[in-house]
């Protein structure tokens, strides 16, 4: 799978509009993670269907392995939650409940996030945000941030290794320096990368005050409409459940 925001444009399968991806993401947060409308049976089953959507999308993006592994995992744990968990008590319930929570509630959102970030280029993201009239003051920090996460994590992992070698770790000889000796190098290196990024952005005309153009063709096509049908239906079921039309 490609890294975050570094989509392989030549070979990424079906292309969805960034706004479609964002809408599915928000739907997942509201229903799978937030558990909205979970007292209506139709919404409960709809949530399962929408949770499976990122797995289908990963298939269209040709990351077959991730899709297969997470699909099996989700199906197994959901089955376990429905059949086994009601009969458990005590410590077993706590442990299994935690696993169910992670796989059933968090995983769909995480998969969608991975899909969203690995199939969207920065240009497309900015174009979509521009169409939604989100001001530049929000879109530029957001796109820098998402692009920057992997860099921070990679740097953090390397610093962590180096510090463990010097015995600066939990339970090590210098545990007191644990945080200082990790955060300070991380920040110094991030600041340096930041000034390089600013120089690069300047050459692309960021901050000149003129209207920037964008060659990305984004828009709603048949694939977006078919991907949107399920989430929209779920919101519909939720509203019908709230006003009491379906039980």
């Amino acid at each position: 799978m490609a890294g975050l925001f570094t989509a392989d444009i030549e070979n990424r399968g079906l292309v969805l509009d960034p706004r479609t991806k964002l809408f599915i993401m928000i739907t997942l947060v509201v229903f799978a993670l937030g558990g909205a409308g979970s007292d209506t049976a139709a919404v409960r089953w709809g949530t399962v269907a929408v949770s499976a959507l990122p797995i289908v999308l990963l298939l269209t993006a040709r990351s077959y392995k991730t899709a297969a592994v997470s699909g099996c995992l989700y199906a197994l744990v959901k089955a376990a939650e429905l059949c086994l968990v009601p009969h458990m008590t005590g410590a077993a319930l706590s442990v299994c409940g935690m696993c169910c929570m992670i796989v059933i509630r968090l995983m769909p959102g995480l998969l969608m996030g991975t899909y969203m970030l690995s199939t969207t280029t920065v240009s497309e993201f900015i174009a979509a945000m521009h169409r939604m009239h989100v001001p530049q003051q929000i879109t530029i920090p957001l796109s820098v941030m998402f692009r920057f996460f992997p860099t921070v994590l990679e740097g953090f992992a390397s610093i962590n290794t180096a510090m463990r070698m010097r015995d600066i770790r939990l339970g090590g000889k210098h545990a007191g320096k644990l945080i200082e000796y990790r955060l300070v190098p991380l920040m110094v290196c991030s600041v340096n990368i930041g000034s390089e990024l600013s120089a690069a952005a300047l050459t692309r005309g960021l901050g000149t005050g003129v209207r920037r153009t964008n060659i990305c063709r984004i828009g709603l096509h048949w694939q977006d409409l078919s991907a949107l049908a399920l989430p929209v239906g779920l919101y519909g079921a939720w509203i019908l459940g709230m006003i009491g039309v379906i039980g």
Partner: protein
């Protein structure tokens, strides 16, 4: 505000959010849930104080605060953090502006005010406890009981106070580290 300022906001938001994320993972252990309010402002104070040395124009702190709220919305903490972060971010901005964007004491206070959004993550726990837990039944009754015992309603203002005080502590810690490391390296 120029492109460079916006890029700086992005970079420091990324560092800050990585810290929030690592600390939030600890929240799966019941005793650590109220401690998020202590750990995030203190640890986040270190990058935030360095960020403040780069803030020279109105709006930078506010934007970072709004971004934190948006990220909380996207990671499933619902809307109260966003509502609070929009207000507390503006307040923090005004506090730092009153010191002409260079007062060290005001910077420490700014971190205290900025950190208030962390406490807003708990609001649903106090004011919509039944709804909050009805969507989290799978945590197990033991977890629910422990957290309910740890978090009676009067804890709500205490949480905000704790976030503020720890934000000031984090600001002081950040200042100390800046003097020790960053000024020497010429990046503060």
């Amino acid at each position: 505000m120029k492109g460079k300022d916006l890029i700086n906001i992005g970079i420091f938001s990324a560092i800050y959010f990585v810290i929030v994320f690592i600390v939030a993972m600890l929240g799966f252990i019941p005793i650590f849930l109220p401690l998020l309010c202590v750990l995030v402002p203190i640890l986040g104070g270190i990058p935030f104080m360095l960020f403040l040395t780069r803030v020279k124009k109105f709006g930078m702190i506010w934007i970072m605060s709004v971004i934190m709220g948006l990220l909380m919305l996207l990671t499933g903490m619902s809307w109260p953090p966003l509502a609070v972060s929009v207000v507390s971010g503006l307040l923090a901005e005004l506090v730092y502006r009153s010191g002409n964007y260079q007062s060290a004491a005001k910077a420490v206070l700014t971190n205290g005010v900025f950190s208030l959004w962390v406490a807003a993550n708990y609001l649903p726990l106090f004011f919509a406890a039944e709804r909050y837990w009805s969507t989290r039944q799978s945590f197990g009754q033991d977890y629910i009981d422990t957290v309910t015992k740890l978090m009676p309603t009067w804890m709500c203002p205490v949480m905000f106070l704790a976030a503020f005080v720890c934000g000031i502590l984090g600001g002081l810690l950040g200042r100390r580290l800046m003097k020790k490391h960053f000024e020497k390296a010429g990046i503060a």
